[in-house]
């Protein structure tokens, strides 16, 4: 009966005599340690199964003094190690036991999963990853651990431990094609079985230069699966040429699920970090904006105040012609000031979502003509061309269309040299009308074309030199979007820019209003 009990136990059962030799060794122990019963009975425990930190734990004196339960590293016959939880029971009395019954359980996986769980729930995944790597390294002596997230046709490395990298959250991208990760991805059903690379320099993985560069000879690539989709891979690389032991592969496979969860947490953390950076950038832009606005207001104010004071001081001596010029310039600067103030008010209205629309249908041509007439002082140094068919009617809000066109036209004037042409045109395309404002100015570099509509972003320096606040186009976009329409820019540096936006054609809208 006792023999059957021993055979059926899920724990390794090791009986240690008072002199420290093994007297009993069940089949689970044979499996766990790799030693057969007849090889170990009569031999000292420490010699056979103790890994680095557990040598003392198996000493008879230590067994006598030990608490009922100990977790320590143990060594298998092949030299590999695992975390063993040992429960110790003395036989024949507590004071002078004749032997100890020790139940050993392999808790490596559980211990590692605990570390992974810490990364899942912890606030500091960087530290949690480092702790996990340390725990893993005790049982799996890897030289490199790379965690790569699959993004489109690229692998983005988000964690690297080993090599010369100190921050485990290291960012690096490499093409996915030809990698072992691609192989795992190619299975129709996500594979949860690890891929073992026996030689990183040979055969189909020879493309994986990143492994060879890191001095990795053999590796295990773990597929990380979430919601039935392979979203990342964990590559555990070894500097030794011998393929990783099956213990290692099995252990890694069994913790892969936990790791997949952990990785999702890291990704969430990363997104958060990105969001913080974005907010910091916005904050910086806002500071620039405030100092920019103060400069923007002061420059026309200085010109306005100066021209008027000059006129007042020297009125008698100034020729009529010059008086007129002083007044004109004063007006132009006052106009710019009022435009800036309007812009700031618009901006705060739109930012707070207080802008509301009153839609009406209107003929576009007279609207554009009236607006550009009003802007004559701003346009005095440019040629203006308007090409809009008289029968085009659109749905607009008076304030919104005024802001959109004023900003686009004054930008066109600001970012092009005097003497050049500014062209406003509109063409009907089905239910919508595309309005565009084109200049032959300095243009916008391609890498800035996506960003010019962002708040506070400024691409270039205007030839007329005033800096601008960086909110004009953000206001334009907000109004266009408020109208439910689209805006875009086409530009060639040195050739000019064309800003186009859509408006709803009036006919079908009028039908719904009737």
């Amino acid at each position: 009966v006792l023999g059957q009990l021993l055979a059926a136990s899920l724990d390794a059962v090791v009986v240690v005599a008072a002199d420290g030799t093994i007297t009993e060794w069940n089949p689970t122990a044979e499996q766990m340690f790799g030693w057969a019963r007849n090889e170990v009975v009569g031999r000292p425990t420490a010699e056979l199964m103790a890994g680095r930190d557990s040598e003392d734990a198996w000493d008879p004196a230590a067994l006598a003094a030990a608490p009922a339960e100990v977790i320590a590293l143990h060594r298998r016959r092949d030299g590999s190690v695992f975390q063993g939880q040992v429960r110790i029971r003395p036989i024949d009395g507590e004071r002078r036991p004749s032997a100890w019954v020790c139940l050993v359980r392999d808790v490596t996986e559980r211990a590692l999963l605990d570390q992974v769980a810490a990364a899942v729930s912890g606030l500091d995944p960087v530290a949690a990853i480092a702790r996990f790597a340390q725990a893993l390294r005790e049982v799996v002596p890897f030289s490199l651990l790379d965690l790569n997230v699959v993004e489109g046709d690229q692998l983005r490395r988000i964690v690297r431990i080993g090599g010369a990298v100190t921050d485990p959250l290291s960012q690096h991208t490499l093409p996915l094609a030809g990698t072992s990760s691609q192989m795992l991805l190619d299975y129709a059903v996500p594979m949860v079985v690890p891929l073992v690379i026996d030689d990183t320099r040979a055969g189909q993985f020879a493309d994986e230069a990143w492994l060879q560069e890191a001095g990795v000879e053999t590796a295990v690539v773990l597929p990380l699966v979430a919601e039935g989709r392979l979203f990342a891979t964990l590559t555990v690389g070894f500097a030794e040429a011998t393929p990783p032991a099956h213990w290692t592969v099995e252990l890694l496979a069994s913790i892969a699920v936990g790791i997949a969860q952990g990785v999702q947490n890291i990704l969430a953390f990363e997104r958060q970090r990105g969001e913080v950076r974005r907010l910091e950038e916005l904050d910086r832009l806002k500071d620039d904006f405030l100092s920019g606005v103060s400069h923007e207001l002061r420059t026309p104010l200085a010109a306005l105040k100066g021209f008027m004071q000059l006129a007042l001081l020297d009125w008698e001596e100034i020729a009529d012609e010059e008086k007129r010029e002083l007044l004109e310039r004063s007006f132009r600067n006052a106009d710019e000031l009022s435009r800036l103030v309007e812009q700031l008010l618009d901006f705060s209205r739109l930012s707070e979502g207080r802008a509301s629309l009153e839609l009406r249908s209107i003929r576009l041509l007279p609207l554009v003509e009236e607006l550009t007439d009003r802007m004559a002082p701003v346009l005095s140094e440019h040629h203006l061309e308007i090409e809009i068919s008289a029968d085009i009617r659109v749905v607009v809000d008076d304030n919104a269309i005024d802001r959109i066109l004023t900003n686009l036209v004054s930008n066109a004037a600001k970012y092009s040299h005097s003497g050049t042409t500014i062209r406003v045109e509109a063409r009907q395309a089905g239910d919508e009308v595309v309005v565009s404002v084109a200049d032959k100015g300095i243009g916008i570099p391609e890498e800035h074309q996506d960003r010019v509509f962002e708040r506070f972003f400024q691409s270039g320096k205007s030839p007329g030199s005033r800096r601008g606040t960086g909110i004009g186009l953000a206001i334009v976009r907000s109004y266009v979007e408020l109208l439910g329409q689209r805006i875009w820019v086409e530009s060639e540096p040195g050739q000019g820019s064309t800003f186009s936006f859509t408006l709803a054609e009036a006919t079908s809208w009028e039908r719904t209003q009737a």
């Binding site: 100092s291 002061r298 420059t299 100066g306 004071q309 000059l310 010059e322 310039r329 600067n333 005033r466």
Partner: protein
Amino acid sequence: VTEPTEDQPRVLVVDDDPDIRLLLRSTLRREGFNVEVAATGEEGLDRAHEHQPDCVLLDVVMPGIDGHETCRRLRDDPRTRDCAIIMLTGKSVSGNAEMLASGADTWLAKPFDVEVLRALVRSAVRTKSGPEDA
């Protein structure tokens, strides 16, 4: 306004804003100064070397080299080392230390008072040309 003459004190205005350039030129010409203008720091340095002004009015925020850098270069060059330099700025400024660090004699915030500006330039020119006249 009479045409500039050789013995009039020479003032150089460096500002990237055309209206401010015009304002300063009109203001100072009427005071009997021989006024040159430049739209950038680089152009300002060229003009300064050419005309050896008694006084330079320098805007701070300009494309290319800014007013502070222009000021340092004027001070480093023996031809312009001794001219009076007045900085003009439309930025919010923390104080004298910031505005005078590059070697300017004084500074004015925009918007400025035309009369104060005239007085400052008169005084700067007088101070600079004083020892030579004596």
